[in-house]
Symmetry: C2
Subunit: 333 residues, 2 copies
């Protein structure tokens, strides 16, 4: 193990990095959203553009435009880019971004050359998780696991106050934790990944199967979807569950069950103080939290000999990606 | 997240801690083994005693005796204790040690009061893993997962050059990663834990079942065990496998298969550079490594978009616990 040496920034630069404003950019397959963020994680201004996702170089132009627009009005010391893809451990290259047509793209160099500000690249899920851990539901804690339950499951891990990036920069691929050996097929090529059982997609699939198998049970859900099982969406299931619909609640039983099981696995490995659940599905709030907690408790190893980690719902909302990327621009490793 | 502040040791003390000799003590249910260790991880002297496991206070006396014996001949600056149990995050208290009759035992204070040397307490599996990561098969790497495959599965995790202890000091309980939902019963109270499928106990169980179901297939194994399936041991299976016995190799197929699957899960979460496999079962060497690697590859998420972590066999032997505990006494957090 080599000694960890903090890169020796001149003291003035390090101070500016900690006290100045930074820009965070959340680069998704459809939108580029950027914001000016202060050291307390507050957003002072934002701008957004459409992503020309099929053209990597035009995407870089759009990112640079957004940064220049914000930097014209604010004195900014650094830029953090959150990209939906694998980012290398040096925080400079996008190795692979399925929805952005980037393959081994030297994004840091491209943006730095255009905007003349120190820039780092982070995985977007890591960036959003960092925002939750530092300013949101995990603030004040050194050991946090953030689970973003959207269409799939993403997330980020904080150990000892630092984001865990891993050797190749692709740690915290928690959606691909195996929960059922040789189980449901996953887009990653494996079978039985967590996100096939506990994600928004799994929730919708559950409702679809239930409504198909037993339309009488799913009257309320079908009413919301104009009578078509294949038109039921996640927000509809949440709405029906909040109104007390038994079928919708049953769908959440299933998602909570698997969410709790996977979290118990993460607890055995990481022993966090707090789990934060975010993403679209987390808008179900207590309906989801309560079911998840029940199952988490049952499947936690050495329960009774350890404090139970807290399970909290995310607080940062859709701008977590901007805030996290901006704040990670302050971190020198 | 609070800022991580390194406890402010006076400069001279910090220097002595890094350059002086320390004592490591490996406290097991049957033996207390202690050694004087230099900063390069070399053992200069050792001593051992039987553990009076049913009497926590006599055990403390035995530990103190061993330390005093070694400290009489060497100038020692600190002591690290590796205990088979849950240790709190402050490295001072043994929360629960099933084989040592310790419950919330303030071990650090008890030893410091007797031997008058700065003392830290670590989990024994973490200590042994630290030795492998720092001086053994993982040396030079910042992201290491050590898997100790003995009767059960233990291990330790190094992230960014530091041991991961977790919020409560009980991270890296990797033997209790779930690999089969509602699978085989585990001593921890859960079902389907990794150590029920990929440990020495699982290997022996596999051989036992095979020999019972099909004695003709297991002729060589049964010959080693005086004809009794219930007398087949791990070392016998390794010996038969190394001699090319098909039944014994089949048992390793099964263990390697599950070992690889579990490791793929750890890789998705932690993205290590190296996995180190140690413990008694690792004496099977390449027989185990090859089978594990094959299955690990198949179950690694995002394979093709990431470098494959290395899988190495442990190098430190039985004294890893002493070396690791001694070296962790140098680490100030």
């Amino acid at each position: 193990m080599v000694e960890v040496v903090t890169p020796s920034l001149p003291v003035d630069d390090a101070h500016r990095l900690h006290t100045g404003l930074t820009i965070g950019v959340d680069i998704g397959g459809t939108k580029v959203a950027a914001g000016v963020v202060d050291p307390a994680g507050r957003i002072l201004a934002t701008t957004r553009r459409d992503t020309p996702a099929d053209d990597p170089h035009r995407t870089e132009g759009v990112i640079a435009d957004a940064i220049r627009e914000l930097a014209a009005d604010y004195e900014v010391v650094a830029v953090g880019l959150g990209a939906a893809g694998f980012v290398d451990a040096d925080r400079s290259m996008v190795l692979f971004a399925p929805n952005l047509a980037w393959r081994e793209e030297p994004l840091r160099a491209a943006i730095e050359a255009t905007v003349h500000l120190p820039t780092v690249v982070e995985n977007d899920a890591n960036a959003a998780a960092w925002a939750e851990a530092r300013f949101g539901a995990g603030r004040g804690e050194d050991y946090v696991v953030v689970i973003t339950v959207g269409t799939g499951i993403g997330g980020g891990i904080v150990v000892d106050g630092n984001l865990v990036r891993g050797q190749s920069g692709i740690a915290a691929e928690i959606g691909h934790l195996n929960v059922v050996p040789d189980g449901r097929r996953c887009g990653c090529g494996l079978q039985g990944c967590w996100e096939q059982y506990a994600s928004g997609r799994a929730l919708v699939q559950e409702a679809y199967e239930l409504a198909n198998a037993s339309p009488a049970m799913a009257t309320d859900l079908l009413a919301l979807a104009a009578g078509r099982a294949d038109m039921i969406t996640g927000p509809m299931i949440t709405q029906a569950a909040q109104a007390g619909d038994v079928a919708a609640l049953q769908c959440f039983d299933e998602i909570g069950r698997w969410l709790g099981r996977g979290m118990a696995q993460l607890a055995a490995i990481l022993d966090p103080a707090v789990f934060v659940i975010g993403g679209g599905v987390s808008s179900a709030g207590e309906i989801l939290r309560e079911r998840t907690l029940r199952c988490f408790r049952t499947h936690l190893t050495a329960r009774g000999h350890r404090p139970l980690p807290d399970i909290r719902m995310a607080e940062m909302g859709a701008e977590a990606g901007i805030v996290g990327a901006a704040d990670l621009a302050r971190v020198t490793r």
